[in-house]
């Protein structure tokens, strides 16, 4: 790796290249941009990074990102507390929120079951989910995990565990993306969409 032997620069490049999607070249470019920018910018950037870690934590109820004990969604009186959407990660909460279609609460599992990766149900926020179903006035659980083999297995696990419970268990549909042309959708997705077609 080419370096100019300047310790401060190399340290920053090294730290930046640990970010997802950032390779060594991009890290170099970002570091040089910061180097050339006004001191006010680099201070604001560093401050924002530190503030993010200091002033946020995980919601104690749903494990979404929060500024206090509960996250803004759990605290909001406008949300429907009869519906609970189960997702893999915080990024999925962001994705669903951006649709503005979901008004209920969330539960972030923190992953999916995968014996090969050494992740079992007890390594996830699974126990907390079942406790919530007992204690809270939940009527419907919407499973919104990724349709991977592991995501499917995790959804099956949850639905089997809640077999005796009166809550309604649903899962998000999978199929052809809105606004896309059928000819560009991969054949396996079309095949699935045809098998799970709906009456009009």
């Amino acid at each position: 790796m080419n370096t100019l032997g300047i310790d401060a620069l190399d340290t920053l490049i090294n730290q930046l290249s640990k970010l997802p999607g950032i390779g060594h070249k991009t890290a170099q470019r970002l570091a040089l941009f910061i180097l050339k920018s006004e001191p006010a910018y680099s201070e604001a950037l560093a401050g924002a990074i530190i503030k993010l870690k200091q002033e946020t934590r995980l919601c104690t109820r749903c494990f979404n990102i929060a500024e206090s004990e509960l996250c803004s969604i759990c605290r909001s009186p406008q949300r429907d507390n009869h519906t609970l959407c189960v997702v893999e990660d915080i990024v999925d909460v962001m994705a669903i929120e951006s649709s503005n279609e979901y008004k209920g609460l969330y539960h972030v599992l923190g992953g999916v079951i995968s014996p090969l990766a050494g992740i079992m149900q007890n390594d996830l926020h699974m126990k907390e989910l079942f406790e919530r179903v007992e204690k809270e006035p939940i009527k419907e659980i919407l499973l919104a995990l990724n349709p991977s083999t592991e995501g499917e297995a995790t959804m099956l696990y949850i639905s089997r565990q809640l077999k005796e419970s009166p809550v309604r268990i649903t899962r998000i549909a999978s199929g052809v993306p809105i606004g896309s042309h059928l000819e560009y959708v991969d054949a396996a997705t079309i095949g699935r969409a045809i098998l799970s077609r709906q009456d009009l």
Binding site: P115, M120, T149, E150, A153, R160, A188
Partner: protein, 373 residues
């Protein structure tokens, strides 16, 4: 699908060659080790994204070169022109491009250019281990049915997870009921795999005997093909629902044994395809010529299946399989094959093809990595 031209750079012993192919029959002749099979391998790489010979890309590289580049210009049945490019460099690894766009998921490419391959490695298909025959079914059906490929990928993934879990259960680290979600996925995807395999085998048993008679001099051989599953006998008579129920029941019956073995003993990953001649299974000590004729008949049915279901003629790659057949038989076969799809044949004996109705444009001499029409 027709392969119109092929550009190969730094692949095995080929430095840089451009070949314009005939739309029906292409005969690549030359001594052993000159690069005939490498041409077929290059075509196969463009279609299947993997080699039928090597496991790693590194060994494809021509000696002391650091990249290889294979580009094929194809014409589909509806007249569309398609370019597929396989590029490997030591620095960036393997990249595949479809019409100059990088392909992110290789499974999206499978089936676009259907191929049917018959090489010396296939000779044990009739009498060798069952894994060979499952591989044959998987490669064929994945090319024709995208849902088969996705069911197969999910099945293998769920199977690996289940086997890992069996180990954890044996070590008392997990309770047996944690298998349930994986079993459900294995049954769902596994029965999908079985359904496709059975449909193909019904097609195969209808066509195979007739095809075998057409190209063999023996007229009264009785050929049978059956699918053998450890889930149940006669699965072909059952509905999808019944197969799923039987599969689930069998998995539960075998549970304790599976935990002891730390591996799943029930399912299509243990199934087999049985070929019988006059009521008896093919044996390794049978006649090689007969075995070859049978395999050619099998590959022709495979091609017909691709044509019927994918609505695209497959490319037929026949690697050095005509050695023991006589000139008359070869001539007869070439006529027959030319009707099925564009064919690529490698051979060390050009003169055996003189009888076949072929012209100069059908022949390519391969000599030390050079290819001359």
């Amino acid at each position: 699908m027709i392969l119109e031209n092929l550009h190969i750079t730094h692949f095995r012993n080929i430095e840089k060659e451009t070949i314009a192919f005939d739309s029906r029959v292409n005969i690549l002749y030359g001594k052993n080790g000159q690069g005939k099979t490498s041409v077929l391998e290059a075509i196969y790489l463009l279609a299947i994204t993997k080699s039928f010979k090597a496991q790693s890309d590194k060994i494809f590289l021509q000696h002391s070169q650091n990249y290889l580049d294979i580009k094929g210009g194809f014409k589909s049945a509806n007249g569309n022109r398609i370019e597929v490019r396989y590029f490997y460099s030591e620095k960036d690894g393997k990249n595949i491009f479809l019409n100059t766009n990088k392909v992110e998921k290789y499974s999206d490419l499978i089936g676009l250019i259907p191929v049917v391959l018959l090489s010396l490695e296939d000779f044990e298909l009739t009498y060798g281990v069952p894994a060979n025959r499952r591989r044959f079914l998987d490669i064929l059906l994945s090319q024709v049915h995208p849902l088969y490929l996705s069911a197969l990928q999910n099945y293998k993934r769920a199977l690996a997870q289940r086997n890992k879990l069996l180990t954890l259960i044996k070590e008392n680290k997990e309770p047996p009921y944690s298998l349930e979600p994986w079993d459900e996925q294995i049954v769902k995807n596994g029965s999908e795999i079985i359904r496709h395999r059975i449909t193909f085998i019904e097609f195969l048993s209808q066509k195979l005997a007739a095809n075998y008679r057409k190209i063999s001099s023996l007229n009264n051989e009785r050929i049978e093909v059956t699918y053998k599953s450890n889930i149940d006998d006669e699965l072909q008579k059952k509905t999808q629902q019944e197969i799923q129920e039987d599969f689930t029941r069998k998995l539960n019956e075998q549970l304790n044994g599976d935990i002891q073995k730390e591996s799943t003993t029930i399912g299509p990953h243990r199934d087999d395809l049985i070929f019988k001649k006059n009521g008896f299974p093919f044996k390794s000590y049978g006649s090689q010529g007969e075995n070859k004729t049978f395999l050619i008949a099998l590959k022709l049915v495979e091609s017909e299946y691709v044509l019927q279901n994918a609505k695209e003629e497959p490319l037929l790659l026949l690697d050095d399989i005509f050695g023991e057949l006589d000139e008359n038989r070869i001539g007869h076969l070439i006529d027959f094959i030319a009707d099925i799809g564009q064919t690529f044949i490698t051979t060390t004996v050009r003169h055996k093809f003189e009888n076949a109705r072929l012209n100069r444009q059908n022949f390519f001499e391969v000599n030390d990595g050079r290819i001359v029409q």
